[in-house]
Amino acid sequence: MKKILFGAITLMVGLVVLAGFFFQDPFGPALTLIYQWGLVLVAVGGLIGLGTLAAFHIRNIIQQKKGWISSAVLLAAFLFSLIAGFVLTPQNAFYRDLILNVQVPVETSLLAILAATLLYASLQLIRTRGWTPLSIAFMASAVFSMLFNLGLIQTASGTLGEQVLMFFRRLPLVGARGVLIGMALGGLVMGLRFLLSTDHPGGER
């Protein structure tokens, strides 16, 4: 009975949204309402998730588990940002400075570390997988793409060389289209399985 109820809710909501893709005029108002309710639920779900994160770190501090100092920093930053946000509002200049002046340096530095990590990982790819068609194509494409991006390989406009160069620059698009079509097919099948309750995202059997 429970399974039928949850399946019916999923199917009903899904069918209305799908119908809205094809018949926008009659289903427009219902779709707006469904999206708004969904947005509210996602927001509440986000709050629950963030609450769980805070609760986890409070437990870490109380039980003085390994890394509790980091948890204390996280919790202090969380509470400071939360209280400052509600008192000053997100539009306040100080609050925006606070968020941006922490976010930008930390995120840019993390991206900078990624350069070293990527270089190491690409060399590991060759060491662990050996010279396969994938690894050869990967390395060759990476090197040529960087040379192209740096503008080191150039030809005169309107020549055969330019056409050949353009052909090589278009090559990565071919695999990308295949990957995108594959992902879309996968998404379509998964969506249909959810809607028809073949899969149960809520975990019920």
Partner: protein, 232 residues
Amino acid sequence: MTSSAVIWGVIGFLLTVMILSYLIRDSLFFRLATYLLIGLTAGYLVVLLVNRVLLPQLIWPMGAASWSQRLWLLIPILLAGLLLVGQIPRLALLSKIPLAYLAGLSAAVAIGGAVFGTLVPQGQAVLDTFDPYRIYADPQLVWMRILDAGVMILGVVGTLSYFHFGQPLQETKRKRAEDRPQILQVFSKIGEGFLGITLGAVFAGVFSTALLALIDRIAVIGGMLGQFLGGL
């Protein structure tokens, strides 16, 4: 330079050094900086979710709406309440109702996005390479356009074949059940090459961006040190 700019600059400098210390080893400084980012961002997210979604969608309309509109607003409040109450282990079943709603919504959006956002435009782009008007637009480049179309269809079919892991429904002559049909094996080898080319190009893009970020951070550190040393 104003005093607030100096303070923010020093904070940015310290955070940069703390994060980049990871290049030497995973230290406490690195963890503190990342936890600080997570804490601040989590708090900011709560403020945004309440200020931009919950207040304007649920609370403020409650005060201004008519009775019939308030009844409609009760539905998301009820669903949100069920989601919250479902966090209590004994009442976990109740949260399945809003989750079923979200599953239906996200599945339909995923189907719509997959079909109208990806399958149709990407399929159209593949077919467009076979458009005779495009092929014969420039008589001197006909062979190049034909080569383009051939490579496109070969690459797309090959890439899709690489990810094909279906099992045969009936018994076959193949030695092992996990072996794919020979035609698929050939195409998947071709697809492997195309996939490598794509991943290599993506890698080059991400690597260049990350390298630029590294240069930017080194410039920030250099600039800050220069200012301090210049001021001494």
